[in-house]
């Protein structure tokens, strides 16, 4: 009998709740939390979602277990068909992709993400790169951003390296405003930009200006903790809610989908002990 769940399981359920039925949704690679969220959504409230798997581009796969790498035949078992890379990105460019999920080592107040490099003029840390995120951030109708690194503990010198920053060193994925403050709506992109940001501390949406706005918290987190760990002004709109915990069926489903606990790789070691009562 399942009584509680982990942070990862809680986040998966929160991400799943951002997914509509009847739309085409795509997860990239290297993102087990999102992969699981899509499979949870498809098997609960969004049975008619078109689920496109990252890396394999399988359509509606039913993997027997989650592999530690996305481009593995495990990941497209049970797919009815598969798209090629051109078709996948064409669908997005034509405005037919309903939702995609993006992250970054920096996420700024407008929802811009940096997965390319730290260091503005001088390269301090080369990151892996954004895959197709740059294009998809512009083209996909709705974006869910997520990160498991919101909490930014001070280093030995007392300095925090924020994940949620005022300004990204490099904009890999476009949010609501460019680095110089231009509104994305002026650019004529297909997509409407980030709709939600799910972190290890809480849930944000974006205000009419395009600025991240704290909407809800995990049961064990306070607004003050969010402020301490955020590199930009934490805006709110009225009282901040508590995120609903996943129900027991959802947690059981996640455990069945990911017997190797691949998604735990995304969770910071300090957060692996957080437990939450299920609904």
């Amino acid at each position: 009998m399942i009584h509680d769940c982990s942070l990862g399981e809680f986040m998966i359920a929160a991400i799943a709740r951002t997914i509509e039925d009847g739309k085409l949704a795509f997860h990239g690679f290297g993102s087990p939390l999102v992969q699981l969220a899509m499979h949870v959504a498809k098997r609960t409230h969004a049975p008619n979602m078109v689920l496109i798997a990252g890396a394999t581009y399988g359509v509606d796969p039913d993997p027997p277990f989650l592999a530690p790498t996305s481009n593995d035949w495990v990941m497209d078992r049970g797919a009815s068909s598969s798209l090629d890379i051109e078709e996948l990105f064409d669908l997005a460019a034509a405005g037919r992709m309903g939702r995609m999920f993006l992250s970054g080592l920096q996420i700024d107040k407008w929802g811009n993400c940096n997965v390319t490099r730290l260091g503005k003029s001088k390269l301090a840390l080369k990151l892996p790169g954004g895959g197709g995120g740059c294009n998809l951030s512009c083209d996909v109708q709705h974006l869910t951003l997520w990160t498991t690194g919101h909490r930014s503990p001070p280093d030995s010198a007392g300095k925090r390296r924020f994940r949620l920053v005022e300004v990204c060193d490099f904009v890999t994925n476009l949010g609501h405003r460019t680095a110089d403050g231009r509104d994305r709506r002026e650019l004529g992109h297909r997509g409407q930009g980030p709709e939600w940001l799910v972190t290890d501390l809480g849930l944000f949406d974006f205000d009419p200006e395009g600025h991240a706005r704290l909407q809800a918290l995990y049961p064990d987190i306070t607004v003050e903790e969010v402020r301490e760990n955020t590199g930009f002004e934490v805006r709110t709109a009225g009282p901040v809610a508590v995120l609903p915990a996943p129900d027991r069926e959802t947690v059981a489903l996640i455990r069945r989908l990911d017997p190797l606990r691949v998604h735990e790789h995304e969770i910071r070691p300090d957060d692996r002990g957080r437990r939450f009562a299920v609904a």
Partner: protein, 328 residues
């Protein structure tokens, strides 16, 4: 829009060209009702193969009018629509019966009378225009066409100087048909389609069009589609489909049946005889006189079906379907 703060509620559905009804099977007449007067249609198949003839006959029975036809190499499909008075503009690149019978009689008459606006295009120009629609771009560049007479027919083409090479290029605008009308060998209830043999422009039409209607020889399970070799057109492109065996007749739909050349000869003679003769000798018996597809199949007869399926018995049997004397 969902709200991650609360349990899930179904949000308003916006039309984004993704079709996800779990069961898209319908009757032929309901399928045909998805095509409206004045629609731009893209008819799948090509020349003598895999034309969605049963759907086209159903459109004529509905007295549809004002269609704009776009596509590449066509014959009896567009000629029949013209003969039935359904077409007001043709942007096809070819409508004819190859060297075998020649010029398409109804199409020619409709063009020459002014009933059908002559808006001829070329295969690759159409590919690029459809691609622009698939890619969500306003246009695609083309190097060719400049120097021919086609730009005179198409004031919507634009010429630019390439910012990379300084050379002149043509831009052709996106073309998104209202409906793609396809016939495939196999489909499933969800709308996945499997096409065997040359796909012609079907896949491009399916991706570029606002809706896709299809007839198939047989509806099978998704698993069976995969066993047969895989899905050609994923379900989310497809609006609705109907199971219509012999739905491409008199064109071919291998491996089920070969091209019915004698029937096409009969059609051609009727069409060449003028509008009255075409109406009496073809439209009446094979289109308006058949209230549904079952009546058409009865009119064609079981012997014809057996004859057309005999191609698979071997080369001699196959070749005998195309012998000169058969066409007399």
């Amino acid at each position: 829009m969902n709200d991650p703060r609360t349990p899930h509620r179904e949000g308003p559905r916006r039309d984004d060209g993704i079709h996800t009804r779990p069961d898209k099977r319908t009757r032929l007449e309901d399928l045909a009702a998805l095509v409206k007067d004045g629609d731009m249609i893209a008819v799948g198949g090509g020349l003598s193969s895999r034309e969605p003839m049963a759907i086209l006959r159903a459109l004529l029975r509905r007295r549809i009018r004002g269609l704009r036809a776009v596509g590449s190499a066509h014959g009896i499909d567009i000629d029949l629509l013209c003969g039935g008075g359904a077409v007001s503009c043709s942007s096809e690149s070819y409508v004819g019966f190859e060297q075998d019978f020649g010029i398409a009689p109804n199409y020619r008459r409709a063009c020459e009378s002014g009933e059908v606006k002559v808006d001829d295009s070329c295969c690759y120009t159409l590919v690029q225009q459809l691609r622009a629609a698939v890619l969500g771009l306003p246009f695609m560049p083309v190097r060719s066409v400049r120097g021919t007479s086609f730009p005179e027919l198409h004031p919507e083409y634009k010429t630019i100087t390439c910012p990379y090479t300084g050379q002149e290029l043509l831009l052709v605008p996106a073309l998104a048909p209202d409906v793609a009308i396809l016939h495939a060998q196999y489909g499933d209830a969800q709308g996945n389609l499997r096409i065997e043999g040359p796909p012609v422009m079907d896949l491009l039409f399916a991706k570029a069009s606002r809706s896709v209607i299809a007839s198939v020889e047989t509806i099978v399970s998704t698993e069976r589609l995969i066993e047969l070799g895989g899905i050609t057109i994923p379900y989310f492109y497809v609006t609705a489909l109907a199971e219509l065996p012999l739905g491409a007749h008199p064109t071919a739909c291998y491996p089920f049946y070969a091209y019915d050349r004698p029937h096409t000869a009969l059609y051609y003679e009727a069409a060449r005889g003028g509008p009255e003769r075409f109406s009496a000798d073809y439209l009446q018996p094979f289109v308006h006189g058949c209230p549904d597809h079952a009546a058409y199949l009865a009119r064609i007869g079981e012997a014809t079906r057996r004859r057309l399926a005999s191609w698979s018995a071997g080369e001699a049997a196959w070749m005998s379907l195309y012998r000169e004397e058969v066409t007399a």
